[in-house]
Symmetry: C2
Subunit: 346 residues, 2 copies
């Protein structure tokens, strides 16, 4: 992690602001064409794509709230700070293009940790083809904070909001549920180092998902592009929260069939070992960066296109939006329970 | 400050995330036309002006680093959080259009303080015609943080960077110097309440500038629009820092004439009362959101247009960029001293 001219554990306060900004810029991918002014001026200037709408989102990771440096490496934290924003752009049906990174750094944070953080963020920026074009650095008297702003583009008729749902539309979810909260649960119970993983390979996969969630950019783009989905939202605060928000904003209720919910195998075992109902725990838990979306009966054909093009990403039908405003989990015996809430920030 | 249904000192943690976001949205101006998706979805979507470049900037105010709740009211903090970003857009020659607000809130922060913060931000948003279209709220285990991202537009040939300076160009500055640091100095020495002001009216003006800096949006836009300025930068970290950065990025040196520097009258008296050299203190101090810009000899005519259109905002010639790479203050007797550095974040 060390660079000539600075010892590995040099604190950021010894580097100076300009030195710190230069160091960050040097570790990031070269911006794409269309960036007129990048890192280091009063503001960044770029040219959005012609004929495209501009998406803007921001999401912060705060030490002690969203991450613990005993559980996640600096590179994991940087990666995740961009991933959670990319997940929001995917949930709009868009494509991320440009990012700003706002860092609040404790004085005694080693420079090598800033390097690691930027390296992790740059790793995802390369894969997602995002140009980091500016940001801000400041000291923090308390926690380490990484606040990323992500800009993206989407065509006008391809925007996927939370409010276009109608009764009768089928609900789908990508990937598996509960991995994020099971991974965090294991880390809180066992880990003392950011490289610790459980022996159980499927639970280890949950821990990996917690540390480095995979934003569903490809599926989000296809859902918007094919206009297969009526509404779309990511599961950053859990499936329970997402279904509740989509239903409220669409003026509907929802029913989810517990037998259909794709709870991650490692998460199921972890929740059961803690005496928890695995379905309730998976629906309540946050940190799953999957997509929830609704499809109208007339658009099933388009959904087939999505499934073909999203090769490798599982998509599962889990229930439907209803005219009845209630929000329910339906058990295999037909009994219903109220839909659990998701993760609450306040 | 209270609203029916919530007692004035209700802590934010009692409100819930959705309640908090709804409350914030209700206090903000209605977004301008062209906003397709505003606050409350995964991300905001808007249509930038046709034929315009997109500017993006972010700047955070962190409690204990950039503000003290004993010295500034919540409304002052919210106002300033947008003002410092608007200053960056002005320094690019652009016009601010859309903002995201990322809040990190201590659990015990009263809801009325969040209301005040948003009201202060909304006050400037109305004046500057900025639509607040999204953001993020999260808990903070430490300081209150307000991190604003501001998007703006500028025409291609009107972008004002820090790097277009040439030897011989004259340096100008808007407004007065030292007000921000003198205002903060007085607050640190005397204040115990956000409404405290000194008896000296000119020093009180410095305190007001510290709490609510006035971004030079109009002058920045005119400097870009007329293409009078070759380079431009704001003085957020002080004149010493700004001149140093413009000179380094332009490959020049600079000489400033101390007799020409427009040190604010109240600041001059405050610095002298503390046994400080008022010029050195005014050049070193941060928190002056004025603009530094350089004008080529052939563009003096355009500068006259700027001065006419910027009626009310003083513009003062303070020195020039030089081929000699040194950075100097020139005393009236011809003696020189090294240019003081500005405020250092690390």
């Amino acid at each position: 992690m060390s660079t000539p001219g600075s010892a590995p554990r040099t604190p950021v306060s010894a580097l100076g602001e300009r030195g710190l900004i230069d160091r960050i810029r040097d570790r990031l991918p070269t911006p794409a064409a269309g960036v007129l002014v990048g890192i280091g001026d009063d503001a960044a200037v770029f040219e959005p794509e012609r004929g495209a709408l501009q998406i803007l989102t921001t999401d912060a990771l705060v030490e002690g709230i969203h991450f613990d440096r005993r559980f996640s490496s600096p590179a994991d934290i940087g990666y995740k700070a961009l991933a959670v924003n990319a997940s929001d752009v995917a949930a709009m049906g868009g494509r991320p293009t440009h990012a700003l990174v706002s860092l609040m750094l404790p004085d005694n944070l080693p420079v090598c940790d800033v390097d690691g953080l930027i390296d992790g963020l740059a790793e995802l920026a390369r894969v997602a083809r995002v140009s980091v074009i500016g940001g801000n650095v400041t000291r923090s008297p308390g926690p380490l904070v990484v606040d990323v702003t992500l800009a993206g583009t989407v065509r006008r008729r391809r925007v996927l909001t939370r409010s276009g749902g109608r009764p009768g539309q089928a609900l789908y979810v990508t990937g598996a549920l509960g991995a994020g909260s099971a991974g965090l649960g294991w880390l809180q119970a066992h880990a003392s180092d950011p490289s610790d993983v459980p022996d159980d390979a499927e639970l280890a996969e949950c821990v990996r998902r917690y540390r480095r969630p995979v934003p569903r950019g490809r599926v989000g783009g296809i859902l918007g592009g094919t206009r297969a989905a009526a509404v779309c939202m990511d599961l950053s605060d859990g499936l329970g929260d997402a279904v509740r928000q989509v239903a409220e904003r669409s003026g509907t209720g929802a029913r989810l069939e517990t037998a259909r919910l794709p709870v991650a195998a490692g998460a199921r075992r972890w929740f059961e070992s803690r005496g928890l109902d695995p379905v309730v725990a998976a629906v309540s838990g946050g940190d799953d960066y999957e997509l929830l979306f609704a499809v109208d009966g007339r658009r099933r054909g388009r959904l087939r296109t999505v499934l073909q093009q999203a090769r490798g990403v599982p998509v599962t039908r889990i229930g439907e939006l209803t005219a009845d405003p209630g929000l329910y989990l339906v058990r295999p015996d037909g009994g219903t329970v109220d839909l659990p809430r998701g993760f609450a920030h306040f």
